[in-house]
Amino acid sequence: MGGHIVVAGASLGGLRAAEQLRAAGWTGGITVIGDEPHRPYNRPPLSKEVLAGKASFASLAFTPKASAADVEWRLGTRVTAARLAERAVELHDGSVLSYDGLVVATGMRPRRLRCPGPLAGRHTVRMIDDAQVLRDELTRPGVRVVVVGAGFIGCEVAATAVGLGAAEVTVVDPLPLPMVGPLGEMLARVLLARHEERGVSFVLGSGVTGFEGDDRVTGVVLSDGSVLPADVVVESVGSLANTEWLDGNGLDLSDGVLTDQHLRVGGRPEVVAVGDVARFPNPRYDGVPRRVEHWSMPADSAKHAAKVLVGGDAGVAPFAPLPTFWSDQHDFRLQSFGAPVLGLGDVRVLDGDPSGDVLVGYHRDGRLVGVVALGGPSAARAAARYRADLLKQPALTS
């Protein structure tokens, strides 16, 4: 098959898209455009092994498959606009690249706190370069660290900072418990206790209204007016989709790029989206379009999107992935299958005990929609059993 496919975004989603286009039989040209100067690399270690000094940057780079050897990589190159009607994208150097197929794989960037105070000493963790700079800061003797945001990445960073021997590590969040949004109250309470036992402090139910310091952060001002002293601040308050370059094409970009059940964008058969940036309906659940920011999603979605882009949708079942994610914090691991967030109203212990290894089940209308394992091999084994059940369930929408 001839022609040219442009992939915008050169991270896991962009890499897997290029590989899966070849696997789907595309023999035409493929150009992957990424604004980072680096080849695709693995992000999860950025908040864990990289910060801890246990992984070199070289070890994070993905090794592309041989089938993708002739893909053209244009790194350090930003896509600034798309003209979908003309099948062309504009690049930051002013050049225009036309395509026969387009893959949207531009992912997310960290949301920043917009409140007064100095910027120096405030960090986010998304890119390899961020993690390197933060690592140097966290290893300063006697460092006091404040993490804003008690989600997965915030809690991972806090755990890593404690492991590095930081003098004080405090996590601030307006919500009453860490990770409570995606995991629910039961597990959030268990996780709070485990973090506290290992030396992380929490200030919960409290927002951040500003930062103190002249040239550099010295403290974090909380909504009750009190101030937490801080040498380093990590902002981990969610992410925003990189979709501005798609503006002006009449697309729904309200939270990522909306796709149909085959990951196609804007009703166009020649444009698909993959990875964190794609907001797609999942017929496995309620068919409501959602973004899923899990590591497994770029590969799953790239496989489906590439097949449909190259061969069309005839006979192809709708994209219906089983979401899965993990999170490593201190000496424990969380492993999730399915969509726990859809079953927060009915949470039951399925195996083990919250004081040790435990497997928690999330139900909607009495039906299991997700499981989360906390702990070692026994929890992982139990989760694997339930994963098989979750996979076998018929779709909720059909």
Binding site: W326, A380, R381
Partner: protein, 62 residues
């Protein structure tokens, strides 16, 4: 086909076991065990396993 797992990288996530159960398994202690020279017919499964490894610890050599 030869399969090599970098056991220094492996963190026992077990995703490869889901993708290629005939080649990878977790032992009773939750550690990865695998067949280093699986049948060539299992190639797709093993490639899938290599893709889904969060540590990218699995390599296929011909």
């Amino acid at each position: 086909m030869k399969v090599v797992v970098d056991m220094n990288k492996c963190q026992d996530h077990g995703q490869c076991v889901f993708a290629a159960p005939d080649v990878f398994r977790m032992d009773d202690d939750g550690r990865l065990a695998y067949v280093p020279d699986p049948d060539g017919a299992l190639r797709d499964e093993v490639e899938e396993a290599a893709d889904v490894c969060p540590l990218q610890a699995i390599r296929i050599e011909d």
